[in-house]
């Protein structure tokens, strides 16, 4: 048999196939799951809440650190300027 015919044979291997049957006890398991739904969703939503809280904490602490850094820097720049003007008496008359 040549390659082409062989491939065609494989392509038609699902022809006339029967439908696969679902396991006999599948519906009783579905009923069981309906009566006792898994609590997985609740756990995962709490997990996401935890992740969100950590992210929020990281962002807030960064904001606090950055704002502190800039406010100190502007104050130190201001004080340096005062020091400079007093050292050289730039605006003093007489």
């Amino acid at each position: 048999m040549n390659k082409k015919d062989r491939i065609e044979e494989i392509m038609h291997s699902v022809g006339g196939m029967q439908r696969a049957k679902a396991p006999a006890d599948a519906f009783s398991k579905i009923r069981q799951k309906l009566a006792d739904p898994p609590k997985e969703q609740e756990t995962s939503s709490y997990r996401w809440l935890g992740v969100a809280a950590v992210i929020l904490l990281v962002i807030c602490s960064n904001v606090v650190i950055i704002s502190n850094y800039y406010s100190n820097e502007s104050w130190s720049q201001h004080s340096d300027y005062l020091q400079l003007t007093s050292d050289f008496n730039l605006y003093e008359n007489g």
């Binding site: 491939i7 291997s13 196939m17 696969a20 396991p23 599948a26 519906f27």
Partner: protein, 199 residues
């Protein structure tokens, strides 16, 4: 009782109505799922999942499509979600195997899967065909499974996939072309055994 009134009863919480719907669609849903997952245990889990989803969302059904289309749509979506999840787990598994020595227990799919409905004399060929189906894109895979394995008419498949009948026809054609290309890779040298082991 017709399907629409069954669905109305399910929406009101009737498990008996769900059982009737299951008796009609259970095997169809399972047959579709196993063509995607190629694993009996995963297919059973997904079968449960599909009917639990039907039970929980029956009240949201708009009656714009047929009940059959809606059930197949849920089935296809769940199956594709499962495959995506499996793919990402596989990717993570590859990373894990770089660090963890003993990964022999990680098993994702059976390479020797044989669809339970295939005729005995076609089992070896069907094994190859299902391996080749794995390589198709999601759309081509769905069009091929629903038309060629589940045996649905193209019109119904078009409704399930939210596509035109023409595009489903073209998806099936392209799927067949790609399957032939893929099967050429598996085909042994002339004169060698017909059976190919997956290694």
């Amino acid at each position: 009782m017709n399907e629409k009134s069954l669905l109305k009863s399910i929406a009101l919480g009737s498990e008996e109505a769900l059982e009737q719907l299951y008796n009609h669609y259970g095997d169809r849903v399972y047959n579709t799922i196993i063509s995607y997952t190629k694993n009996a245990e995963d297919s059973e889990e997904l079968l449960h999942d599909v009917f639990i989803t039907i039970y929980n969302t029956a009240r949201t059904f708009q009656f714009n499509s047929s009940v059959s289309t809606w059930i197949y749509r849920i089935t296809v979506n769940k199956s594709l979600d499962f495959l995506r999840k499996q793919k990402s787990q596989k990717r993570q598994g590859i990373l894990t195997s770089l660090y963890v020595k003993d990964t022999s227990e990680i098993k994702y799919e059976s390479a020797d899967f044989v669809h339970p409905g295939v005729k005995l004399e076609n089992k070896e060929d069907a094994k190859l065909l299902f391996r080749a189906i794995d390589t198709l894109s999601e759309h081509q895979k769905t069009a091929f499974i629903l038309t060629q394995i589940e045996g649905l008419p193209q019109k119904e498949v078009a409704e399930i996939m939210n596509q035109t009948r023409k595009s489903v026809e073209s998806l099936v054609q392209r799927a067949k072309v790609n399957l032939r290309k893929e099967l050429e890779k598996y085909y042994p040298e002339r004169g060698k055994s017909k059976n190919i082991t997956s290694d």
